[in-house]
Symmetry: C2
Subunit: 316 residues, 2 copies
């Protein structure tokens, strides 16, 4: 599939009424530690607390009026469930969310707050797909994948476009890699809106499917994923993987200790609440500091939805 | 003592090279909950993580060259120790900090990072004053009080000036009340820079010395102060109390549960790291929501220096 700059500009324009233009922060101390010059694009301040709002809004906006009337459906226990619910609510569209019955009550409550209609099912992928299929048949709702959907990918890319509008001469943009929507959209944004800007992914060693996929040229999966970066356990898809293969320069893998240390640094020094997945990008920059020395870097802080009760175990 | 608008404008101009102009944030959800329209002035993003940087910088700037060469001394185990150290470092001035030997190692480390020279002593007020006196005699350093100092008061007022420059038609500005420097400076800023802006203080019920002082007309102290808002345990002073009596409209007292609840709301919904003292102002707004209904409010988020390891007990 071919993408172009005008297409991304249109998406940025389209989603603007439904999303925040999030702030870009800097930290003198983290610049000193890293030896580079970092602009943090703070999607933790995005509506519902994560970049996923962008892709969800764009996906719904690209449905026909008839499709919108029938609603949207997804299966997710994470940020995309909240994002699709809130984007749908903002657009007056019904949202059906399939969640595993084991999902924490706090996540279900968040989806309900945003008006999503929850269907619970056992937590296997097959059960979740079956439940989503059944809802599609009963309601005519359109299935929206959290990361492997062209409009979702383009929507996620708008965070990097906004960042490059503020700071056009970035040498690198670094994002965490989960299902691949954010990094694919960011890679397109870097290609079309950067001057000579490379896109680099960051991934937990404990869930390094994207790194292995880049090596093998095929979509690999994780047999286990014992990481605190719980948003990054998913695998790439056939729509975002070709973009990643073509436009992502490298993927850097980091340990759990490196993720925790980067997360603590951001909480303590920047005074912002971020989720563990968001810390993975800074962890990668600190790990490969020679590569980034003296460079201008953009880091996408992907989100801030974290259970404060679990903070202690996350940083210790 | 008389104060005027030109004097405060000059302070804002003077400290500008040594401080950040901190961002102002809004939260749609907190506006819905409170029924008012709130602008949060985020001094947690200030250098060293708290508004105290402003007063410390202004106090040192108002010393003569001879005084600056001999250095400054204070006794504090909190944010002012860090603020005076960093302000002194920025201005090439020696800083001597008297800290109780019981102070947490993390706080001592922060002072050292900013170049402050620590003298440890037993934790009684008399021991601290004796140690500070001795340093003054030995070095000729000037003692700077954390809150009861005219230049400190004027410096702290600059946060509210910046807020009113962005949002000139605020009906109220609400700040926490500890030693009285922030609220006195804010009250002056509201009087000189607001259109018809009242200044209101917020205080823990467990350390309500300022509320009692307003009632009695004398500076009262706390016999105990069992509050998580550990920055607010100190009492008012003879320089800030007259300003407070004249220009502060009211002081609202809140329970520990109300402080924790407001703190959690800000962490979870605004995704910013604040210290418990900072949550007291929002707690007051939520408690007296009838008073503030439909009004435009400024809240000074005083700082973000919190021990993450203690977060669990703070919010539970």
């Amino acid at each position: 599939m071919e993408y172009n700059k005008q297409q991304l500009e249109q998406v940025l324009y389209d989603i603007e009424p439904y999303t925040h233009r999030t702030p870009v922060l800097k930290s003198r101390l983290i610049n000193e530690i890293s030896g580079s010059d970092i602009w943090f694009k703070c999607e933790n301040f995005q509506r519902m607390g994560a970049f996923k709002m962008r892709g969800a809004a764009n996906a719904i906006l690209n449905l026909s009026k008839e499709q919108q009337d029938k609603g949207v459906v997804t299966h997710s226990s994470g940020n995309f469930a909240q994002a699709l619910s809130l984007a749908a609510k903002s657009l007056g569209v019904p949202a059906y969310i399939v969640m595993p019955d084991s999902a924490p009550e706090v996540k279900k409550a968040a989806v309900r707050t945003y008006g999503g209609k929850i269907t619970e099912c056992p937590s296997t992928l097959k059960d979740r797909e079956d439940a989503a299929n059944q809802i599609q048949q009963q309601t005519g709702a359109t299935f929206i994948h959290p990361s492997n959907d062209t409009n979702v990918i383009l929507g996620q890319g708008t965070a990097a476009i906004e960042l490059l509008q503020e700071q056009p001469d970035l040498d690198f943009i670094i994002t965490p890699v989960g299902g691949g929507g954010l990094i694919a959209g960011t890679a397109l944004a870097a290609k079309f809106f950067g001057r000579n800007c490379k896109c680099v992914g960051a991934e937990p060693l404990e869930a390094d499917d994207a790194w292995r996929s880049m090596q093998s040229g095929n979509i690999e999966s994780n047999s286990s994923a014992n990481t605190i970066a719980d948003g990054l356990k998913t695998q790439l898809g056939d729509l975002n993987f070709p973009i990643i293969l073509e436009d992502v320069d490298d993927i850097i893998r980091v340990t759990e200790a490196e993720i925790k240390s980067a997360m603590k640094l951001i909480w303590e020094r920047m005074k912002i609440v971020i989720e563990p997945s968001s810390a993975v990008a800074l962890a990668a920059v600190l790990k490969e500091s020679q590569l980034f020395k003296g460079k201008k870097l953009g880091i996408i802080i992907s989100g801030g939805n974290v259970d404060l009760k679990k903070l202690q175990e996350m940083i210790s």
